[in-house]
């Protein structure tokens, strides 16, 4: 499935343009050299399309951290890389490499290994790089990546280059130390704890230097930012411009998640996170500036699996110790699977030839359509089993991806167990809230009960597109909506929560 990219004929407004008005620009990656664009196009983490076919995993080998963030409680994993309140099982480099080989032979789609925590990988350089060295030795078909706050980045550039690390994510929340002082209470630098704006200034300088050095050495750099309303929300557009100019290929804005229970500074002090609408507006505003990643799932520091799924439970250390892995045999098997995936992607890309034709007459309002999938780029998940909805927006100009929305509980708990009584209502309420801006939901199958509730809420359910590729399904559904003369939703309305 090749999503047609919608061109923008006028420069994107710098202020909060409505989601309907600006698409991701064709030129979003125009500033990047060819080899980078090619790398991104096929990347399981960065290409929305490749994401359906390949998977990544993280190993938790890096417990220490060299800074404090106000959205993080150090009793838990790094909040940049995990949902709050999660504690990963800490692995030694030896255990981690065992785990990676075991997972890679069981899940051939797994092609990227990341170290992202539970602290900062570069605050634990020995553990992080030893893990990488072991993988490079035994499993050269796996790409390596790491995520860092950037403080120790410049001093480790040579090692990162030597190990052929594929990409680095830097979390950059600001470029102004005064704003930084409201996000980072301290950094550990030069054998001292440096507090407030002074510390933030050091961190910012190191992040920017690290970014420049990585780009210079030809390593892909993604930048993550946490959107904190009233603190850095207005500042992030500037951050976006700066990191793009310096050569970051992607800027990913994530929402602050702050609850008193997490025991973080923001949680306890009552700092709120952004609403879905605020987040989406900022992402749009930044998208005018550069390519934005909307499918990021904020996976856990020890996550394993494809798309939003987590198969970590199948690979606990106990189970791994008992496994016998013949990696050279696995590598051959993996190569065959990858060939099959590539062939499949090619057929899918041909099936959906980007058309020059309009999907609808100009002036037809856009519609957001939710899709449930288990991967492979097709509609193959039942409504009741989905824990994640992919949101697409269809407009006369084409289809674009808006983002992935997770829900805490799928409508049904097991393959055959669907809720009864009051539970049914609450689970469905949460789903409806997540689909607040959608006019339709396209699934492999939708049960009778949710069907009528969805309809009543103005979300047309459909099971007609089972096993179709996602773009074909979204186009078809958009056509149906137009035919029915559906009541278009105002896509600029403020969402609750």
């Amino acid at each position: 499935m090749e999503l047609k990219v919608i061109a923008q004929d006028s420069p994107a407004p710098t202020g909060g343009c409505t989601s309907g008005a600006c698409g991701s620009s064709t030129d979003a990656m125009a500033h990047l050299p060819d080899h980078v664009r090619k790398k991104v196009h096929n990347h399981p983490c960065y290409s929305e399309e490749a994401h359906h076919h390949y998977a990544r995993m993280h190993v938790a080998v890096a417990p220490a951290c060299n800074i404090q963030c106000h959205y993080c409680n150090r009793k838990y994993d790094c909040a940049n890389e995990s949902r709050p309140g999660v504690v990963s099982e800490l692995l030694t480099p030896e255990q981690a490499s065992k785990k990676v080989l075991a997972v890679a032979s069981a899940i051939p789609q797994m092609t990227v290994l990341g170290v992202a925590g539970p602290g900062d990988p570069l605050a634990n350089p020995q553990r992080t790089f030893e893990t990488f060295r072991r993988i490079v030795d035994k499993a050269p078909d796996i790409k390596l990546c790491l995520s860092t706050n950037g403080l120790a980045l410049p001093e480790h550039i040579d090692e990162i280059v030597a190990l052929n690390v594929d990409h680095v994510t830097i979390t950059i929340n600001c470029v102004d130390p005064k704003i930084g002082a409201q996000i980072y209470p301290w950094v550990f630098w030069n054998h001292k704890r440096v507090m407030g704006a002074k510390g933030a200034k050091i961190l910012i300088k190191q992040q920017q230097r690290g970014l420049e050095m990585l780009v210079e050495r030809g390593i892909l750099v993604k930048v993550n930012s946490v959107m904190i309303p009233g603190v850095n929300d207005r500042h992030l557009e500037e951050v976006s411009k700066i990191v793009k100019t310096k050569g970051a290929f992607l800027h990913n804005v994530m929402p602050l998640i702050a609850e008193a229970e997490h025991g973080t500074f923001y949680g306890v002090m009552g700092q709120r996170g952004p609403t879905k609408q605020e987040l989406s507006d900022l992402q749009d505003a930044c998208a005018g500036d550069m390519n934005m990643m909307r499918h990021c799932r904020q996976c856990r520091a020890d996550a394993v699996g494809l798309l939003g799924e987590d198969r970590g439970q199948e690979f606990t250390m106990e189970k791994i110790e008992a496994m016998e892995v013949d990696y050279s045999a696995a590598m051959e098997r993996r190569a065959r699977v990858h060939e099959g995936i590539e062939a499949h992607r090619k057929t899918m890309a041909q099936a959906v030839q980007p058309t020059k034709e309009m999907l609808a007459p100009i002036g037809t309002p856009p519609a957001r359509i939710a899709v449930t999938t288990k991967g492979s780029g097709v509609v193959n998940e039942h409504f009741g089993h989905a824990k994640e909805f992919l949101i697409y927006e269809a407009s006369p100009e084409g289809v674009r991806f808006i983002g992935a929305r997770k829900i805490a509980n799928a409508y049904c708990v097991g393959p055959d167990v669907c809720p009864s009584g009051d539970d049914k209502g609450t689970v469905l309420d949460a789903i409806l809230a997540a689909l607040f801006d959608c006019s339709a939901v396209v699934s492999a199958k939708v049960g009778i009960e949710p069907w009528s509730r969805l309809e009543a809420a103005g979300v047309t359910p459909s099971g007609t597109y089972a096993m179709d590729d996602i773009e074909t399904a979204v186009r078809g559904m958009y056509g149906e909506l137009i035919e029915q003369g559906w009541a278009a939703k105002d896509l600029s309305v403020q969402a609750a929560g």
Binding site: P63, C65, Q68, H70, R74, F188, H191, K192
Partner: protein, 92 residues
């Protein structure tokens, strides 16, 4: 003259590689400082390294048993505010 680590340590490993005296090691439940080996970093650094990177308030004590990083000093959360919020959560 020695610092000590108490049970609120979260085993983040941050302090261990920084110690110039090799005084820190993983104990049974948490990291610990060998009192005979700890020099309080005297002669090596201006500040004791373990207490300068430790993210947990109260986890490291000075020779007299006082917390080097008292409540609120690292997170910026005023202790009375934390108490109030925790009490409110318990009451839910």
């Amino acid at each position: 003259m020695a610092l000590s680590i108490i049970e609120s340590c979260v085993n983040c490993y941050a302090c261990e590689p920084l110690c110039p005296s090799d005084a820190i090691s993983m104990g049974e439940r948490h990291f610990r400082i060998d009192a005979k080996a700890c020099t309080e970093c005297d002669g090596d650094y201006a500040d004791p390294q373990c207490a300068s990177i430790c993210p947990i308030e109260g986890a490291i004590l000075d020779a007299s048993g006082q917390a080097i990083n008292p409540p609120g000093s690292l997170t910026g959360i005023p202790p009375h505010r934390l108490d109030a919020v925790e009490a409110e959560i318990r009451a839910r």
